[in-house]
Symmetry: C3
Subunit: 268 residues, 3 copies
């Protein structure tokens, strides 16, 4: 199983896909740097008159609503429509959809009107979108994990998409196949952007791997694996400033052998 | 005196308050990371249709006008009104109010129409708002410190708020009590965002400590103390890239004993 | 030749110029920090009602269209007009002008209606603006360098400006004089923002050096030199997270002797 995500990571490095991101301004720099560290090319472009053209030259489209402005909203509609038409994979990160009705509704609008390849959120966001009860605190999930797999499956089947819910155990499903990932480390919650970076990485993997279920497992898996390696790599790396810097270093230099050794991915 | 700010820091770690930030896009990532490092939960949310709802679930509201857009301006009005109504503490960071008439006027508008708990600026900004002569260079203060305490008191009394003016010596007052803090280090001026991060931290402390004077002293004090510890922690930490990373590390791991040992806070 | 750029760097440190930036939100924090590291004062200010006033107190204006919004577009028009009128140097960074017709057209509009001092782009962007064939991938240039000098000269002469095209060899020209710089390192392409930071630095140097050709050579040169020193400064510095942090450290502490030793600048 780690073998299949290793292949996807290799494809990213070989093909250097252009990932068109419309994302929040809190973690946008982290998203750009993590894409570069893995071997992809980030491009942030959100003006309404530009997005359709830019989707046309990109390998995938990453939409993150962390700090949605009215201009971004309209640009996301245009970009998603163009990408659906062209068959360009679209990854949605529904930041805050668990806490804010307006974001929840906007995500459902995107899901209903477009061909979305991947929805990647925390478990609270995913359960809200699937219509399950859950518990969130602002943009963070404090869901206990119950019915997590079922909620992901329901959402995936409803919109014929791949769903990833991050949490203590990450769940990825295309509605039939399920992958559980037990990597990661608490330090990933002590810095901003870990979730957004996973979404951006899913943009990179979906651009090179047509099996979006596998592409998503690779993106979620690599961040968990590298987060774990980084946190366990030295005492200073259990401090958030240093941890964050080393995360970029370690994504850049991750080896197949490490992925095989550290990866805890289960196929259900 | 360090004892009382230690208590506030503990409360942040125990209660993990959600701090709703509408802030500039230059240092927004730093603000999010410093809040996480201290033990609070940042959430940046600025769409007009979202802010009222989001204030309702937050422990405090932090407004920073460093790169004010028209959309932000309107969102700040709505958010401040809602927070005043709910009794949620509001922290204002009047970035650039010393240099730009329009920002000066906007801050006065916020002060006059809402219940602001804390105004945290550099001395040039605070003196301008208080109607005193001062000297600024862009968003930086080059004020010599004269009449600093008086200006802070005037502003605090006029709007029944806590005022903090950062500088060589930081001044904090609620109009009666005054706290002077002599911590800090020149390196804090060699990286962008130190001031904004103090403001964000005041959002965290005000969410857990109802005595906003004390909450402000804790936020300003902790940044000065940790800045000093960081700069004096090794030769490389006198370089801005490394200094900045270690600042997050050190806020995360600051101990009571260090606060007691390094803290130079005076009650007037 | 390194001698003349050393002089410019000294002038920045002595005069601490205020650089007014209207720039993209991906790398804005990097731009602010690199300006502080070199000894300049950054100020990001883009509200339409503020920019004219702010240009009036700034030493230079840096316009970067990396994530152009409609509000920024109008603000750039106002700011450029004011700066042209006041004789304040304007530096333009035409990010994405090679890939997007609308950005290309906006840059030409700025060039035609204002007195632009410096255009700093990658070779793909510069060749597009000069009307030459080229090859770009999103916001990156994959141009092979052919006719690079000629394209720069054509553009410089057409708009009586200084043109810098970054690439394997950087080209700087005022239409007559040409400077080639062979510094730099592949690691500068593994982090986001190197190009933007050069543009911001050109804002700092143009604010203190009236010979904009020299000012541009200093900005492009210092980044190449420091990038090279950083990448060669230790094994970990060949990893993008650490490299990026050390870049700020090294800009801050760069010595005249290092510039002389490492600098590979050629006057044609």
């Amino acid at each position: 199983m780690p073998q299949s995500i290793i292949k996807v990571i290799h494809k990213v490095k070989e093909n250097n896909p252009l990932v068109h991101c419309i994302t929040n301004y809190v973690t946008v720099n982290d998203c750009a740097n993590i894409l570069l560290s893995l071997g992809a090319s980030p491009a942030m472009c959100e003006a309404q008159e530009e997005v359709a053209d830019f989707v046309g030259i990109s390998g995938s489209l990453y939409l993150n609503i962390g700090t949605l402005t009215s201009e971004q909203k309209e640009s996301m509609r245009i970009a998603a429509k163009t990408a659906s038409h062209l068959g360009t994979p679209i990854v949605i990160d529904p930041v805050g959809a668990g806490a804010l009705k307006s974001r929840h509704d906007f995500i459902l609008e995107l899901l209903e009107n477009n061909k979305i390849s991947i929805i990647k959120g925390n478990l609270g966001e995913i359960k809200t979108l699937a219509g399950f009860d859950t518990c969130v605190k602002g943009v963070d999930s404090i869901d206990n994990g119950e019915n997590g797999i079922e909620a992901c499956k329901v959402l995936a089947q409803r919109y014929q998409t791949v769903v990833a819910a991050t949490g203590k155990v990450d769940v990825i499903t295309d509605g039939k196949r399920v992958c559980l990932i037990e990597n990661g480390h608490l330090m990933l919650t002590k810095v901003t952007g870990a979730g957004c970076m996973i979404g951006a990485l899913a943009g990179a993997t979906a651009a090179v791997e047509a099996d979006y279920f596998l592409a998503t497992a690779a993106a979620v898996g690599i961040m968990g694996i590298v987060g774990e390696i980084t946190a366990l790599g030295g005492k200073n790396q259990l401090l958030p400033g240093t941890f964050r810097i080393k995360l970029f270093d370690n994504i850049y230099q991750i080896h197949d052998e490490e992925i095989k050794k550290v990866g805890k991915l289960k196929w259900l």
